[in-house]
């Protein structure tokens, strides 16, 4: 799958210690992508987050987490969005190739190809693709990485709107920046750059002060996901030929054996019928 050159990928560096939870990114995303508002209730999910989950109308949102620090109530935030994997599972499982990893970084979705099988939703380790459950002929919806903006030299809508936490630029530079911060303030961060290796590397990279699993990050394999299915699928032509060839050979042998048997029987019969004649002579 990795026939796209990912070296020039742009990446989001999201430093959750700098996030104030203003949700400007959520609003900017809705505006740029012209997504409908959702009717939600406050506290419908866990804590202060709203809407309760990403959906066909919400491509990104801030997750809130309450915790106690030195006897004080504190908030931690986590911006949920498409991780734009270097080797995306959604692109590998899609039967019609409706997902594509672009050289600029975002994984884009070609709605005109989609047949709506929802395999991408099963495959995505981060639970990102969402479905238009309200429609009769639904399509998949997910964060576009603002591919249209990036191609014109702009930054993604959420990164533009964010006053503090999101840096956007070439992926290797963003990783370098993240590691510099970890080295400079080792007591401020958990010593991990999430997204550097997760699912084979993503172009959304996180730094936080709280353990990632507590924030609601999913435990994700470090191996690129397409490899899991490809290790079986790559055997398909070989299996097809060996099963087909093997069975053909086998049936040729059984049929030949039968034919020989039949011929021998016929010969036998001939001899049997010939013998009495000899007696007559």
């Amino acid at each position: 799958m990795s026939n796209v050159d990912t070296s020039k990928n742009n990446a989001f560096l999201i430093d959750m210690t700098k996030c104030t939870g203003c949700r400007g990114c959520q609003v900017a995303c809705k505006q740029w992508n012209q997504l409908e508002a959702e009717e939600t209730e406050f506290f419908s999910g866990e804590g202060y987050q709203n809407p309760p989950a990403m959906s066909e109308y919400t491509f990104t949102r801030i997750k809130f987490r309450d915790y106690q620090k030195n006897g004080q109530n504190e908030f931690a935030f986590y911006k949920e969005m498409c991780m734009h994997c270097n080797e995306p599972a959604c692109a590998s499982v899609c039967p019609v190739g409706a997902f594509q990893k672009t050289e600029e970084g975002p994984v884009i979705y070609k709605a005109d190809r989609c047949i709506g099988c929802r395999f991408c939703m099963i495959a995505c380790p981060f639970g990102v693709p969402k479905y238009e459950w309200s429609k009769g002929l639904p399509l998949v919806k997910k964060c576009t990485g603002c591919h249209s903006r990036i191609k014109e030299g702009l930054e993604p809508a959420c990164a533009t709107a964010c006053p503090t936490a999101i840096s956007y630029g070439p992926r290797d530079e963003m990783i370098k920046l993240a590691e510099q911060r970890l080295a400079r303030y080792p007591d401020r961060y958990i010593n991990k750059v999430y997204g550097k290796e997760e699912a084979g590397g993503t172009t959304v990279i996180y730094l936080t002060s709280l353990p990632f699993d507590e924030l609601g990050f999913k435990a994700v394999t470090l191996r690129p996901l397409p490899g899991y299915t490809w290790q079986a699928l790559r055997l398909v032509p070989g299996i097809f030929l060996s099963v087909g060839g093997g069975l053909s050979a086998f049936s040729w042998i059984t049929h030949r054996r039968e034919r020989l048997k039949r011929e021998q029987q016929a010969l036998q019969n001939e001899q049997d019928s010939a013998e009495p004649k000899e007696e007559k002579e």
């Binding site: 799958m1 989950a53 990403m54 599972a89 590998s92 499982v93 899609c94 039967p95 019609v96 190739g97 409706a98 190809r113 989609c114 047949i115 709506g116 099988c117 929802r118 395999f119 939703m121 099963i122 495959a123 380790p125 639970g127 969402k130 479905y131 238009e132 459950w133 309200s134 429609k135 009769g136 002929l137 639904p138 399509l139 998949v140 999913k218 994700v220 394999t221 996901l225 397409p226 899991y228 299915t229 490809w230 290790q231 079986a232 699928l233 398909v236 299996i239 097809f240 099963v243 087909g244 069975l247 053909s248 086998f250 049936s251 059984t254 049929h255 054996r257 039968e258 034919r259 039949r262």
Partner: protein
């Protein structure tokens, strides 16, 4: 009008059970129309946490191995030369053809954009297991259709197509086995991508192989059940002697399955395995009751030779397979905070599909010669490269019992 009247009087003569099946199919059709009018979200219990529900778990992932009898038996009879099982082949092909047609219908209902189903043939993605399965299901349904044409041509006394079909019979049998091997196993590949979602009891890299071997076991068991049911309820002769032969093969395939299953669990999987009591129960039900128990039963001569016990053992295997596919595609992927169960409409559609299978099988058996197959009465004077015929009486042939049709 007369045609309508003929059909109406024909239907009036049916057994109440067939009429009941027709009712279920009708309800299923209405329910599936509702899906298009009101959308998937309103009519099903699927959501962003459960993008795949009953329709994928049963109508596709379970129904495909249940229809595996056709390719298994075809290979056993024609490739491995156990010719005496030939009388079982045609009913198995009809079951397979119906099964795959209904899989296609179920898949189309489940798609968000069914009118774009053909995109699979236009935009290839060879890295996608779904692409592989769609191609194989399309190809195999075609193969089964061609194989199913034989009784149809016999019914209408069409000799030329019959000879052609007979000529390509062997290639079709080999193609059926090869294509089936691919997509039966690739259904297992589907879930290899769900690496952090599927429970450890079921996630292992050998899923494709396990899916294939269990499909072969189930294919044979379905044939046992089907032949016994046809004997009991459709007045067909008892094929017990033939089923005994099948039952002799089963301990080997079941044993292979259990061995691979245990190997994949103990060697290739990482724990924790028994952290969820319900899944643990489901796992033991599946493996012990669904595979190990029938394996032990089929090793006993007293079970293989007894019609009743043999069917019970076969039913256990089918139970084990259905539970296994649900464990992999539904139960093992459950989110503990949110439980999925099928909605009324989802259930009605699936019940309609099962009823449709039974209904069409009975109707086809009523109007086409699928049990009274006499290869020796068909004129095969066209190229016969496999030397299969040993010269029957040319010119006439028997279609349905007792009815003789003049050759054109």
């Amino acid at each position: 009008m007369t045609a309508v009247r003929v059909i109406a009087s024909e239907i009036k003569g049916f057994h109440w059970f067939i009429k009941f099946m027709m009712l279920l199919v009708g309800i299923g059709v209405v329910a599936s129309l509702l899906r298009f009018v009101y959308g998937l979200g309103a009519t099903t219990n699927m959501n962003d946490t459960y993008p795949w529900g009953l329709w994928i778990s049963f109508d596709v992932v379970t129904a495909v191995p249940l229809a595996a009898g056709a390719f298994t038996l075809g290979a056993i009879v024609h490739c491995f030369g156990i010719k005496k099982l030939e009388p079982l082949v045609r009913p198995a092909i009809v079951t397979g053809f119906l099964g795959y047609s209904l899989v296609s219908i179920g898949l189309l209902l489940d798609l968000g954009q069914p009118h774009r189903g053909w995109h699979v043939f236009r935009y290839w993605n060879v890295h996608s297991p779904m692409f592989e399965v769609s191609m194989c299901v399309a190809a195999y349904t075609t193969v089964l259709f061609l194989e199913f044409l034989s009784p149809v041509c016999e019914r209408f006394g069409l000799h030329l197509p019959l000879r052609l079909l007979r000529w390509i019979e062997m290639p079709l049998v080999v193609a059926a086995a090869a294509i089936s091997t691919l997509h039966q196993s690739t259904l297992g590949t589907f879930f290899l991508i769900a690496v952090d979602k599927l429970h450890n009891l079921w996630y292992n890299p050998l899923l494709p192989l396990l899916f294939w071997v269990s499909a072969i076991c189930t294919g044979m068991c379905i044939i046992i059940i089907e032949a016994s049911a046809c004997h009991k309820w459709m007045g067909q002769p008892n094929e017990g002697v033939l089923l005994r032969t099948l039952a002799k093969i089963l301990p080997w395939t079941l044993g292979a399955y259990i061995a691979i299953r245990l190997y994949s669990l103990f060697v290739l999987s990482d724990g924790p395995f028994f952290d969820n009591p319900l899944l643990t129960l489901s796992f033991f039900l599946e493996l012990v009751v669904g595979f190990i128990l029938p394996f032990i039963m089929f090793t006993q001569k007293s079970v293989r030779d007894n019609d009743r016990r043999r069917v019970i053992a076969a039913c256990l295997v089918v139970f084990g397979l259905v539970l296994n596919r649900f464990n992999v595609s539904m139960f093992g992927m459950m989110d503990p905070n949110q439980i999925y169960y099928p909605s009324l409409i989802e259930s009605l559609v699936t019940i309609g599909i099962i009823a449709g299978h039974i209904l069409f099988f009975v109707l086809i058996a009523r109007y086409f010669p699928i049990f009274e197959h006499h290869p020796e009465t068909v004129d095969y004077s066209l190229p016969d490269s496999f030397q299969k015929h040993d010269g029957g009486d040319k010119g006439t042939k028997v279609t349905e019992a007792g009815r003789t049709v003049k050759a054109s």
